[in-house]
């Protein structure tokens, strides 16, 4: 799976994407929701992602992973961004010919969620593990791109899932996950 370990550069500004980056442009296929920064509200983020992925005919496996990444990111914004303070998360997303993207914007203190990522310490007994950072790790490994930018004081995180497989036929299965590369 291609993972963007490079500098955070998503081309979130509308217009031409930066060289080598994953551009997202809010076009006719884009949608947006605003949700309060509270765990009990994150169902709406999941519903938004699932709807977008269904419309893009993402295979079930890819859609599950995109939803997982979005859920972990949104949870992270609530818990570590706003830290219990009231606030709002703006979520938009779109379907491009080669990718589906979800973008999160919030006004919590500047905070790159990827900095908190911590791969599981497999050499330690489970009961002694520090679990912080696991959600971001799951998100990072679930999608093709997990990018972050600070734009005019706002935190902007973007998740991208490439559209690799053929669209599912109506009522079809997700048996074919498509080629990895």
């Amino acid at each position: 799976m291609a993972i963007d370990y490079g500098p955070a550069s998503t081309g979130v500004a509308r217009g031409a994407p930066p060289p080598g980056g994953f551009g997202v442009a809010a076009g006719p296929g884009a949608a947006v929701i605003r949700v309060p920064a509270a765990l009990g509200e994150l169902d709406r983020v999941a519903a938004f992602v699932l709807d977008l992925g269904e419309r893009a005919a993402l295979p079930h496996d890819a859609l599950y992973r995109l939803r997982l990444a979005a859920d972990e990111l949104a949870t992270n914004i609530v818990m570590h961004g706003y830290r219990g303070a009231s606030g709002e998360i703006t979520v938009d997303g779109g379907i491009d010919p080669d990718q589906v993207w979800i973008r999160f914007q919030d006004d919590a203190p500047a905070f790159d969620p990827r900095q908190g990522m911590r791969p599981p310490a497999l050499d330690r007994p489970l009961a002694e593990r520090r679990i912080g950072g696991l959600g971001v790790y799951l998100a990072f490994t679930a999608v093709d791109v997990f990018a972050y930018d600070l734009v005019a004081g706002r935190n902007v995180s973007t998740l991208v899932m490439l559209r690799r497989a053929e669209p599912r036929p109506p009522g079809g299965t997700d048996a074919d996950h498509g080629p990895i590369e």
Binding site: D71, E72, T75, P120, L122, L126, L138
Partner: protein, 103 residues
């Protein structure tokens, strides 16, 4: 999006049935149920996950809590987890100390 968790203790085996979506909003209920199971003195914890359609890191956190609360001698098994759920458990490396059965 729904979530349900049920606990029964047979002899000294605690059985937890999970269904629906286990995320940050619903994990506290799972956490509380694990606490009850540990308090009941179970020596084995069996978590039926066939109907669990979604698992986030919040649910994984509860599994760590189960391991911490119940001690190393208690066998913990997750049974019948759907593939995406099982994959998350494996990716986090939890399958070394929690048995994945029929997954």
């Amino acid at each position: 999006m729904s979530f349900d968790v049920r606990l029964r203790v047979d002899e000294r085996t605690a059985v937890i049935d999970l269904s629906g979506e286990l995320d940050a909003a619903t994990a506290p209920r799972f956490h509380d149920t694990i606490d009850q199971a540990a308090t009941a003195g179970a020596i084995e914890l069996v978590i039926h996950a066939k109907q669990l359609s979604y698992l986030s890191s919040a649910g994984l956190r509860s599994l760590v809590f189960a391991r911490q609360k119940m001690g190393d001698e208690v066998r913990i098994a997750v049974v019948g987890a759907p593939e995406p759920v099982a994959r998350t458990i494996r990716l986090a490396g939890f399958d070394h100390s929690i048995h994945l059965v029929d997954a």
